[in-house]
C-alpha cells in the first residue's frame, strides 16, 4: 500500500521550516529555539519512521516518488524517491539530528561547551539547513538536485566549525571546506560528463540508469566520481580533513558530520558511481580496493597513537569508513548489505561517541587522555555508555557493529580473500585502542584533578569563575574540578543511541530486510558476484 502523502517533501520542508522559524524568533528566546529545533528533529525522525513502516517490502524499488518539472529545457526535475538503502540513511539522519539537537541544547547552558560562544539561533538554523541538505541527497533522483543538496549539506559546516568550534577551528574549517569542494569538483565533472555523453540532456537518475554507457567512458569517469565522493567518505589518502574537522567541531556538528555526512560520500559512490557505471565498477573496484584496506588498518594504527580523545574517535571513523568502502568494493550482496548496515551502525555509534566526548570534555575541560582517569567512579552512566559504544566499535557481537563488520568481511572474502585477512587485523587493533581509551578515561584510580560534586560544595569559595575559565583554557593548573554524572537531557539521547546499537545488533533483520531490497537491485545491475 502506498500512501499518497508527500512524505519526502514533507521531511525536507519541515527541516527548512524549522530553520526559518528559528531565524525569525526574537534573539533572546533561547529556550524556544531549542524547542523548535528539537521538535523539528523529532518530526523528521517520526516521518522517517513512518516511511520505514509504510515502505512496501514486497514491491521494492523506489517508492513515494514525487516529480515536479523544474527547468525542463535543461532536463532538470525536482524528483525524489526512496529505496531500501535511502530508507536506512533517512532513519539514521533522523536519529542523529534529534540526538544532536538534544545534546547541544544542554551545551548551550552557562558553563557548557557552547555557552561561551552563544548564538543558538544561528547555530540551530545552520544545523537544520545542513540536515535538510542531507535528507535531500538521500532522496534525490535527479543528479542536479543531488548535487545541489550535497553542497547544501557541506557548506554550513564551514560556519558551524569556524564559529562554534574549539582549538584551531579556523584552520580546520577552511581545510575541511576546501577539501570537500575539491571532491565536489570531481563529482561535478562526472555529472556533467554523464549529462552530455548520454545525449539525452537530462539529469534524471532513473533515465540515466537505463542508459548503457560505453565501457571506455565508464572506465574513465568511474574513478573520478569514486574519488570525488571518496573524499567525503574519508577515503585514504584524502582523509586528513576529517581528524582536524571532527576534533575542532562542537559535539552536535561532529555527530552529524561523522555520523551522517561521511555517509553521503559512501552513498554517492553507491548511487552514482556503482549504479550508473557498473562496468567501470567491475574494472576499478579490484584495483581501488587497496585504499579501503589501508583505511582500515592504517586508520586503526593511527588512532592508537593519538593522545587527544577526539582524534582517537576521528581516526576510528576513518578506519570504520574503510569497512564501508571495502564492502562497496566487494560488489556482491553480502558486502553491499554489510556496507550499508555499517553506514547505519557507524553513524549511530560515532554519534554516540561524539555526544559522550562532548559530555566528558564539558566536565573535565580536557581531551588529553593522560589527564583523565578513574572517572567511572564519578560518572558511572557515562562510563557504561562509552563502554557500549566502544564495544560496538570493536565489533562485539550483540551490537550492530559486529553484524556490519561480519557481513562486510564475509562479502569481501568472497571477492578478495587475501586482502580481507589483512583488513580483518583491524579488529584486533581496534580492540587494543578502544579498550585503552576506556581504561584511560574511566578505570584505574581517580585522577586527583577531579573530585565528586558533593566535595566541591565545601570549597566553593575557592572556585571562582576565573579559575574554571583558566582551567578550561590551558588544561589543569592544580584546581580540582567537580565532575558529576550525566543529567537527564544528556541521558535521553545517549540511551536512545545505545538502545539502537543493541537493538540492531540483536535483531539486524529489522533493517537488513529493507536494505537488501535496495542492494539486490544493484547487484542485478552489476551482474552478479565478482
Amino acid at each position: 500500500m502506498i500512501v499518497h502523502f508527500p512524505f519526502l517533501s514533507a521531511i525536507l520542508s519541515v527541516t527548512l521550516l524549522g530553520a526559518l522559524i528559528i531565524i525569525v524568533l526574537p534573539e533572546n528566546k533561547h529556550f524556544l529555539m531549542k524547542v523548535t529545533a528539537g521538535v523539528t528533529g523529532f518530526i523528521s525522525l517520526v516521518l522517517s519512521l513512518a516511511l520505514f513502516v509504510l515502505y512496501d517490502r514486497s514491491l521494492g524499488g523506489f517508492q513515494f516518488v514525487e516529480q515536479i518539472a523544474w527547468l525542463p529545457r535543461l532536463g532538470i526535475t525536482y524528483q525524489v524517491g526512496i529505496d531500501g538503502i535511502g530508507l536506512a540513511m533517512l532513519l539514521l539522519t533522523g536519529i542523529v539530528i534529534l540526538t544532536g539537537v538534544l545534546i547541544s541544547s544542554h551545551e548551550f547552558k552557562a558553563g557548557g561547551l557552547l555557552g561561551a560562544t552563544g548564538r543558538p539561533k544561528e547555530f540551530y538554523a545552520l544545523l537544520l539547513v545542513l540536515v535538510a541538505g542531507v535528507f535531500g541527497v538521500f532522496m534525490s533522483l535527479d543528479l542536479f538536485f543531488f548535487f545541489l543538496f550535497y553542497e547544501l549539506a557541506v557548506l554550513p559546516m564551514y560556519l558551524l566549525i569556524g564559529i562554534w568550534g574549539t582549538g584551531k577551528k579556523e584552520y580546520s574549517a577552511m581545510k575541511l571546506t576546501l577539501y570537500l569542494l575539491l571532491g565536489s569538483a570531481f563529482i561535478l565533472i562526472g555529472i556533467l560528463a554523464l549529462y552530455f555523453s548520454s545525449g539525452l540532456r537530462t539529469f534524471d537518475w532513473l533515465v540515466l540508469r537505463s542508459v548503457a554507457f560505453p565501457a571506455h567512458f565508464q572506465n574513465i569517469v568511474f574513478p573520478v566520481i569514486f574519488v570525488g565522493f571518496g573524499i567525503l567518505a574519508g577515503l585514504w589518502p584524502f582523509h586528513t580533513w576529517s581528524p582536524d574537522g571532527h576534533a575542532s567541531a562542537p559535539s552536535a556538528v561532529s555527530m552529524l558530520h561523522a555520523g551522517v555526512l561521511m555517509k553521503l560520500g559512501a552513498f554517492g559512490i553507491i548511487r552514482v558511481a556503482l549504479e550508473l557505471f557498473p562496468i567501470g565498477a567491475k574494472f576499478w573496484c579490484p584495483i581501488l580496493v587497496f585504499l579501503p584496506i589501508v583505511n582500515i588498518v592504517y586508520g586503526a594504527l593511527s588512532a592508537m597513537s593519538q593522545k587527544d580523545l577526539k582524534y582517537v574517535i576521528a581516526y576510528s571513523s576513518v578506519s570504520h569508513m574503510g569497512i564501508v568502502l571495502l564492502g562497496i568494493c566487494s560488489l556482491n550482496a553480502l558486502g553491499l548489505n554489510g556496507a550499508v548496515f555499517q553506514m547505519f551502525s557507524h553513524g549511530v555509534m560515532t554519534a554516540l561517541f561524539f555526544a559522550l566526548v562532548g559530555c566528558i570534555y564539558g566536565r573535565t575541560h580536557t581531551r588529553i587522555l593522560n589527564e583523565m582517569g578513574g572517572l567511572a567512579k564519578l560518572a558511572p552512566f557515562l562510563a557504561v555508555a562509552f563502554t557500549v559504544g566502544g564495544l560496538a566499535s570493536l565489533g562485539l557481537p550483540g551490537t550492530s557493529g559486529f553484524v556490519a563488520e561480519f557481513l562486510v568481511f564475509l562479502g569481501a572474502f568472497k571477492a578478495y580473500p587475501a586482502l580481507t585477512v589483512i583488513a580483518a587485523t583491524g579488529i584486533v587493533i581496534t580492540a587494543i585502542y578502544v579498550l585503552r581509551v576506556v581504561q584511560k578515561i574511566f578505570f584505574a584510580s581517580l585522577n586527583p584533578n577531579y573530585i565528586p560534586e558533593a566535595d566541591a560544595c565545601t570549597m566553593k569559595d575557592q572556585f571562582t569563575h576565573e579559575h574554571l575559565e583558566e582551567v578550561s583554557d590551558s588544561g589543569h593548573k592544580g584546581f580540582p574540578i567537580s565532575v558529576s554524572d550525566a543529567v537527564l537531557l544528556e541521558k535521553i539521547p545517549i540511551v536512545m543511541l545505545m538502545g539502537i546499537l543493541i537493538l540492531f545488533g540483536i535483531w539486524p533483520s529489522l533493517i537488513i530486510n529493507v536494505i537488501n531490497i535496495g542492494v539486490s537491485s544493484i547487484v542485478q545491475t552489476i551482474g552478479g558476484s565478482l
Partner: protein, 611 residues
C-alpha cells in the same frame, strides 16, 4: 526438549535484565533473582540430559536470523546431543555453586548487584555457546563470554592492576579470535553454511583440499588457544586472577577457559581429517602443560599456582584431543571443572579469612578451617590424579591414550608433568594448611555456611564423577566407541610418582628435611627462569613496545606529516603562487609601464639575437 533449552538459556538472561534495570538497588533481591534463575536452568539441563540419555542423537532447531543470500543462510539455533547436554549440566552446576558461594564472598562489596548481573550474563552467554548449532552463533557467544570475562576481571576497576588485566585478557584472546573469525568466514564461503552438521557433511564429501582442511583446523585452533590459554597465548590467564576469586573459579577454571577445548570437540570432524593439525594440537597442548606445570611450582600467590595449574590441565585436554583421545579429553574437561572450581573456591575461603594471597603468610590453617582444608585436600588429590578421585580416571585415560597412539616423547613429558602437578599441589597444601603459622595478629575462621556447603558439594562431585567414566565413554565418542582400557601399569606408575612427589613436598615444606632455600640456590638459574615465567611476558612487552607502538606511532606521524603535509604543502603552494602572481596586478600604472618597457627591450634583444 527445545522448550527446556529455552528455559535453560532465557532464565539467566532474564536475571541479567531484571538485575540491571530493576533490582540493582537491592543486593538481596539481586542475588536471589540470579540464583533462582540458575537453579531453574540447572533443573532444566538435568531434564534435557535425562531425555538425551534415553535416546542419544542429534536434535536440532534452526531459527533464521539474517536473510540475504539463499545459498548462505545465517541462522541461530540449538543442537542438543550428548556432548552439549553434558556441558550444559557442568556450566549450570558450577555457576549455581559459585553464585551461592559468592553470597558470602562478595558480602558488603560495592558492586554486589553489578557482580550478579554480569555473572548471569556470563551464564547466558556460556550456555548459548554450548548449545550453538552453527559456527557463527558459537563465535557470537564466544565473544560475549570474553566480554563478561573482561567485565568481571575488571570488577574492581579502580585498581590499576585489575583494569590492566581485564584489558590484557580481552586483547590477547582477540588475537586468537581473529583466527577463528577467518576460519568461520572461510568455511562459510567454501561450504555455503555455518551449520556444524552440514559442514561435517560437506567436508566429508571431500570438497576441501587437505591443505585447506589443515589451514582451517589451525585457524580454529588459534581461537581455541586464545580462550583456553595455550602457549603462546596463555599470558592473560595468570593476570586474570585480579578478578574476584569466585569468578576465577567459574570463568577462569571451570567453564570459559574450557570453551576452547569444547570448540575443538565440536569441530573435531575437521581436525580428524588433518594429521598435521592434530600433531600441532598435541605438541602445543603438551608443551603448555609442561611449561605451566613447571611455573606453578615456584609461584607464591595461591591463585597464581591454581591459574598455572589450570593452564597446565587445559594443555592436557588439548594433548588428549591431539592424540585422538576425544573421550578422554572431554572427560578431563568435566572432572577438571569440578575439582578446579573446588580448589579456587577453597583458596577463596582462605583469602576471605586472611585477606592475603601469599601462601607464605598463611600456614596451619587446618586448625581453624577444617572444612576448607579437607575439601581443598580432596581437590588437590583429584588434581594430582590420585586413586580413586575423578582426576585419576580422566588423567590416566589421557596418559594411556598418548602412549597407545605412539607419541612416546609426549607421553614422557606428560608423565613428568603429572609429577609436577602432584608436587605443586602438595606444596601449597602443606604450606597453607599444615606448616608453621606465619600470620600474626589475624584470627582466621571458617567461612560461613553459604561458602562451605558449595565446597562440600563440589568435593563430592570431584570424587564421585570418576565412577561414571565408563558410562561416559559409551555416551560420548567420536567415530566408534573407545572401549576403556583396563591398563594397570600406567595408573600404578602415575600414582606412585604422584605419591613420590607428595612425599618430596612433605619433606621440603612440612618437615623441612631439605631446605627449600638451598634448593633454590643450587638451581638458581632454573629457579630464576621459572620465577620469570620463561620470560614470555617480557617477550610480549618487547614486541608490543618495539613493534606495535613503533608502527602505530609511525602511522600517526606519517599521517600528520607526510599525508597531511602534502595537503598543507598543496595549500601553501597555491597561496604562495597566488601571492607571487598577485604582484602582477598591482593597479599602478608605473609598474605596468616598467613591464611594457622591459618587454620591448627584451623583444628587441631577441630580434637582434635571431639575426
Amino acid at each position: 526438549m527445545f522448550e527446556l533449552t529455552a528455559t535453560v538459556l532465557l532464565c539467566p538472561l532474564a536475571a541479567f535484565v531484571l538485575i540491571t534495570f530493576f533490582t540493582g538497588k537491592s543486593e538481596k533481591i539481586s542475588s536471589l533473582v540470579s540464583m533462582v534463575a540458575m537453579a531453574v536452568s540447572l533443573l532444566s539441563s538435568l531434564l534435557i540430559f535425562a531425555l538425551i540419555l534415553s535416546a542419544p542423537g542429534d536434535y536440532e532447531l534452526k531459527i533464521p536470523w539474517i536473510n540475504i543470500l539463499k545459498d548462505l543462510p545465517i541462522e541461530m539455533g540449538v543442537l542438543l546431543n550428548p556432548v552439549s547436554s553434558v556441558m550444559l549440566m557442568v556450566v549450570c552446576t558450577v555457576s549455581l555453586f559459585v553464585q551461592i558461594y559468592s553470597v558470602g564472598y562478595m558480602h558488603n562489596d560495592e558492586g554486589y548487584s553489578k557482580y550478579y548481573s554480569f555473572i548471569s550474563l556470563f551464564s547466558f552467554s556460556m550456555l548459548g555457546l554450548v548449545i550453538a548449532n552453527n559456527l557463527l552463533q558459537l563465535y557470537i557467544f564466544w565473544e560475549l563470554v570474553g566480554l563478561c570475562s573482561y567485565l568481571l576481571i575488571g570488577h574492581w576497576y579502580h585498581k590499576p592492576d585489575a583494569a590492566n588485566a581485564a584489558k590484557k585478557a580481552f586483547v590477547v584472546t582477540r588475537f586468537g579470535d581473529f583466527g577463528l573469525l577467518i576460519a568461520v568466514i572461510f568455511l562459510a564461503c567454501k561450504t555455503g553454511t555455518f551449520n556444524f552438521l552440514e559442514i561435517e557433511r560437506v567436508i566429508g564429501s571431500g570438497i576441501l583440499s587437505p591443505a585447506a582442511v589443515t589451514a582451517v583446523a589451525l585457524l580454529i585452533f588459534c581461537g581455541a588457544a586464545g580462550k583456553s590459554a595455550q602457549f603462546p597465548l596463555h599470558i592473560w590467564l595468570p593476570d586474570a586472577m585480579e578478578g574476584p576469586t569466585p569468578i576465577s573459579a567459574l570463568i577462569h577454571a571451570a567453564t570459559m577457559v574450557a570453551a576452547g577445548v569444547y570448540l575443538v570437540i565440536r569441530t573435531y570432524f575437521i581436525f580428524d581429517l588433518s594429521g598435521t593439525a592434530l600433531s600441532v594440537i598435541a605438541i602445543i597442548g603438551c608443551s603448555t602443560a609442561f611449561m605451566a606445570g613447571s611455573i606453578a611450582i615456584v609461584q607464591d600467590d595461591i591463585k597464581k599456582v591454581l591459574a598455572y595449574s589450570t593452564i597446565s590441565q587445559l594443555g592436557y585436554m588439548m594433548l588428549a584431543l591431539g592424540v585422538h583421545g576425544y573421550t578422554a579429553g572431554y572427560f578431563h574437561l568435566i572432572t577438571h571443572a569440578t575439582f578446579k572450581a573446588l580448589l579456587f573456591l577453597g583458596a577463596g575461603s582462605v583469602i576471605h579469612s586472611l585477606h592475603t594471597n601469599n601462601i607464605w603468610e598463611m600456614g596451619r590453617l587446618f586448625k581453624n578451617m577444617k572444612v576448607t582444608a579437607v575439601t581443598f585436600l580432596i581437590g588437590g588429590l583429584a588434581l594430582s590424579g590420585v586413586y580413586p578421585t575423578s582426576g585419576f580416571f580422566s588423567k590416566d585415560a589421557i596418559l594411556i591414550q598418548t602412549l597407545e597412539s605412539g607419541h612416546y616423547v609426549l607421553f614422557a613429558v606428560a608423565f613428568l608433568t603429572a609429577g609436577f602437578t602432584a608436587f605443586y599441589m602438595a606444596r601449597v597444601f602443606f604450606v597453607v594448611f599444615l606448616s608453621k603459622e606465619k600470620f600474626s595478629g589475624k584470627h582466621p575462621h571458617e567461612s560461613p555456611a553459604v561458602m562451605y556447603v558449595p565446597l562440600i558439594l563440589l568435593a563430592t562431585l570431584a570424587v564421585g564423577l570418576g565412577f561414571f567414566s565408563e558410562g561416559f565413554s559409551r555416551l560420548i565418542f567420536f567415530g566408534k566407541i573407545n572401549e576403556p582400557e583396563h591398563a594397570v601399569l600406567i595408573p600404578l606408575l602415575s600414582n606412585l610418582s604422584a605419591i613420590g612427589a607428595i612425599v618430596l613436598a612433605w619433606a621440603i615444606y612440612q618437615k623441612e628435611l631439605i631446605s627449600a632455600a638451598a634448593l633454590e640456590q643450587r638451581f638458581a638459574f632454573v629457579h630464576k627462569f621459572l620465577k620469570n615465567k620463561y620470560y614470555i611476558d617480557e617477550m610480549y612487552v618487547f614486541c608490543v613496545k618495539n613493534i606495535l607502538f613503533v608502527v602505530s606511532n609511525a602511522a600517526g606521524w606519517f599521517d600528520r606529516h607526510i599525508v597531511d603535509g602534502a595537503v598543507n604543502g598543496a595549500f601553501y603552494l597555491t597561496s604562495s603562487a597566488a601571492g607571487a602572481l598577485r604582484k602582477l596586478q598591482t593597479g599602478m600604472v608605473q609598474n605596468y609601464a616598467v613591464g611594457i618597457f622591459g618587454g620591448v627591450i627584451l623583444l628587441w634583444f631577441f630580434m637582434n639575437m635571431m639575426k
